[in-house]
Symmetry: C2
Subunit: 248 residues, 2 copies
């Protein structure tokens, strides 16, 4: 049996997590079976219950186990067809790839009427709508087209200049009193329209990743809606699910 080394640089709760992970991945603890109780684990590895719990919560976060009050903690069925993708703001994403992000404003318009899909979402055009479209680039190569519709607030002019370098949520926080608190997004595959294909310098109908996004205020009313079209050949999402790293 592995023991906890209290003089190691890796803390005990983490050591125990790698030990239990190993026992699970090796098949010693099989899916559906209960783990020893928290008290038993504490006795077995000479740790306080608090520490055991911190370790278990780490494994639960990673989907290896799940606890049920009053019953016990059980090994989850392994699910390796799972994947986790996270999208950052465009400039962050590009910077992580080691490239230089850039924005090119295509046009800005003031609209009295909302596009149909915005109405469906429950957006109201109290003072009109500001629409803009810009091209997102990495190292001067076009990667995505962004279409955005945002609630217009009188008396807070937005400088066209800002669209050249700022992310949407920055602009909205600076120029309105509205607090976006909720963000919803849908990712799918589509064919590029003529307009977007031209901007992306790809053929009409080329495959693109479509990201529809809506920002809501605290009353759950949409205050901004965006649609991104990413070039299929220049933008992809990555997921990597792997065991805990651990010297021990």
């Amino acid at each position: 049996m592995d023991r906890i080394n209290k003089n190691s640089f890796t803390p005990p709760f983490y050591q125990l997590a790698t030990i239990l992970e190993k026992r699970i991945l090796s098949g010693e603890l099989k899916a559906g079976e209960p783990l020893p109780s928290e008290n038993d684990l504490g006795r077995e590895y000479e740790l306080s219950r608090t520490t055991v719990r911190k370790c278990l919560s780490l494994l639960a976060e990673r989907g290896l186990i799940s606890a049920q009050q009053g019953r016990g903690t059980f090994v989850s069925r392994p699910s390796l067809d799972r994947a986790e993708f996270s999208m950052n703001e465009f400039n962050v994403h590009v910077a992580q790839m080691g490239k230089e992000p850039g924005y090119r404003l295509i046009h800005v318009r003031f609209r009295k009427e909302l596009p149909e899909f915005a109405i469906k979402l429950g957006m109201v055009a109290s003072q009109g709508i500001l629409y803009y479209c810009r091209l997102l680039m990495a190292d001067d190569e076009p990667v995505a087209v962004e279409h955005k519709y945002m609630a217009y607030i009188k008396g807070r002019p937005i400088l066209e200049n800002e669209f050249q370098y700022k992310a949407f949520s920055e602009i909205i926080t600076i120029h309105t009193d509205i607090l976006p608190v909720r963000s919803q997004a849908i990712l799918s595959a589509e064919s590029a329209s003529e307009f977007d294909a031209n901007l992306l310098t790809v053929a009409l109908g080329s495959p693109v990743l479509k990201l529809q996004q809506a920002l809501y205020d605290s009353d759950n009313r949409p205050i901004g809606i965006g649609v991104f079209y990413y070039r299929g050949d220049r933008y992809s999402l990555v997921s990597d699910i792997q065991p805990l790293k651990g010297e021990r």
Copy 2:
């Protein structure tokens, strides 16, 4: 100032989290500013430091704050253009949509040689490769095509039958000694090939979500590689980032 109600059904650490979240979202605590120290928060809200820390770790998980040892805990810059997508196994995903998942095996082949992209990933064809292709369906409508290459292990015949209803990782755990411990995936947009388009009953070149996936063993060698093509119009990923729910 909000206080903690120790008789509420929502535990104190969660109450404090919603209080601090409100102070952050409302702009009272601005991005980059430090929160009160954990000891101060404990005094202010009459909670132990452990409870305060549990609350802070919740907010940190959600990206609202980040702690720096020796310096303090700081409000993060809001990033609402962020999105989190998670893909489950196909049958789970379909079940969540309230539909009936189904598999249709298209063909199974034994191959001596690996496809080029599998070699690039470092896969070795010790005893040959088992290749299969199947159609994934929801309520009898085709949604995705799956191509899979897996290391073949002598003496463990796999019944064709299994491909009709089992997920890949199940098959591999049952029929090999190999333990998949790591899963890597790449999501992008592509045009459907003639072969895939026919199976999906869409036009040649229609947009599809492409998911490339590799499973690795504990020595970081690929043991299985899969490619999924999802119909762009029938499959999409959803992200929803919202404040903590809380009666109080």
